[in-house]
Symmetry: C2
Subunit: 238 residues, 2 copies
DNA sequence: CAAAAGCAAGAGCACTGCTCTCGTTATTGT
DNA sequence: ACAATAACGAGAGCAGTGCTCTTGCTTTTG
């Protein structure tokens, strides 16, 4: 299965990892647009053509970095949820768990701006997300779904009202994502999910420059309201 | 002032416009990353070095396109507001004016995805927005501010509650943007503004692929709730 | 009418992604 | 154990990029 069969296979794994590490370093330093295959190879002491034995093209390297970034932010979100769940002495209200997860995602984004831009900014390569990315891409979303499910089971949800025309869409999405949850809440969750990343993107991409100073409190405020719009209950004043 | 003084000056203006037009064409076709100075020059029948008489670098060309894009979407927003204002037989409720403006911005984004990505996606060039862009960049925001001001004067605002810690920030931003409006509403407006573009970006950048089908209704729903979060009043059911 | 400034063209530099070939080395099947 | 096969690293090379510099020419200016 995952047993390493020989020196060749072992070396391949190590070289692949080294390439990705160096590429990630250049990504963090210069951004995706300035990431250069040749520079990566140069830094690793290989010749550029050798690198093509590991990644068939620059876009494939970028795709690998995209997958890793999705996994990294997904892991951060999962960790934040676990931490918020085990808060002592009392378990945190669900709105605050939501805010904690959202804040963790924002923190990761601020710490890794170029990786964030890679996955939540404009699509860089040939404008089609490969299938490899859809799994890791949904990890953060799943965290929010699980969180809402917990809230639903513990306290119930203040299910938002829904226009009749959106009813079928809400049911379709609910069947896909979380058949055990109320469709209006799932639809609100999808919208809240997008809006959450809107806040992060605006902050990160400079739209708040010379305008908003207290960014973290504003983010927490908005995230809390989004949680309530999904139906979560928490402390009244945010 | 703006009188054209000679053939040389006239030619410069025309050539500059031609370069921007061709660049915009390539931008729409291939995206900002693949926009090539040499290709633009080639298509215009000039040699690449001649193009540097008009734009000192590729980034400056991109900056010019950014400014134009901000102006274009700003104009669309202003037009949508004017149209919604003059609706007959009855003037539209303010929530619906907000939704109309937001929908117009979304429509422009869907029609010009690469230009939208240029201004609201990840920052492409050396990661610092030049001063030339801040004016045009605020046009859309100003439309929303004006719209909220109209609503405030006509019907008043259902001013959202605000945590005390955010009070100073809200007052600072209000002094900058719209001193005549209630600070909590201005702060909510800033947050709503970011969230609105989060919805558009997620749709445009493929995050809704294989998930959301009825995107326009969902957008209108979320936009309406954002309007209400700022304090606007409208028809109850959205 | 001469000096100055603006302009297009071309050559050239350093860089990019990517392909192809050519020895070398490790893995595999007999 | 040995030969066939596949993977590998190195190098040369192609077409393309942004950008600079020099060289003549033309328009504008004093």
């Amino acid at each position: 299965m995952s047993t390493i069969r020989g020196a060749r296979e072992r070396a391949r794994i190590e070289v692949t990892a080294a390439i990705k590490d160096e590429a990630r370093k250049q990504l963090a330093a210069e951004g995706a647009a300035r990431l250069s295959l040749r520079a990566v190879a140069r830094e690793l002491g290989m010749v550029s053509s050798a690198l093509y034995r590991y990644f068939p093209s620059r876009d494939d390297l970028l795709t690998a970095l995209i997958v890793d970034a999705y996994d990294a932010v997904g892991e951060v979100a999962e960790g934040a949820r676990a931490t918020a769940e085990q808060a002592r002495p009392h378990p945190a209200p669900h709105v605050e768990r939501w805010v904690a997860v959202a804040g963790a995602v924002r923190g990761w984004a601020l710490a890794h701006p170029h990786e964030y831009a890679l996955i939540y900014g404009s699509p860089v390569p040939g404008y089609s997300a490969p299938m490899d990315t859809v799994g890791p891409a949904s990890r953060v979303g799943l965290v929010f779904i699980d969180l809402v499910r917990d809230a639903f089971r513990a306290d119930g949800l203040a299910v938002p009202r829904l226009a009749p025309e959106l009813r079928p869409e809400a049911e379709r999405i609910t069947a896909d994502l979380a058949p055990d949850l109320p469709p209006p809440a799932v639809l609100a969750l999808v919208a809240a999910w997008a809006q959450l990343f809107g806040l992060i993107s605006f902050e990160l991409f400079g739209q708040f420059n010379r305008l908003v100073e207290a960014r973290e409190p504003l983010f927490r405020l908005a995230a809390g309201e989004l949680a309530r719009s999904v139906g979560l209950r928490g402390t009244p004043a945010g």
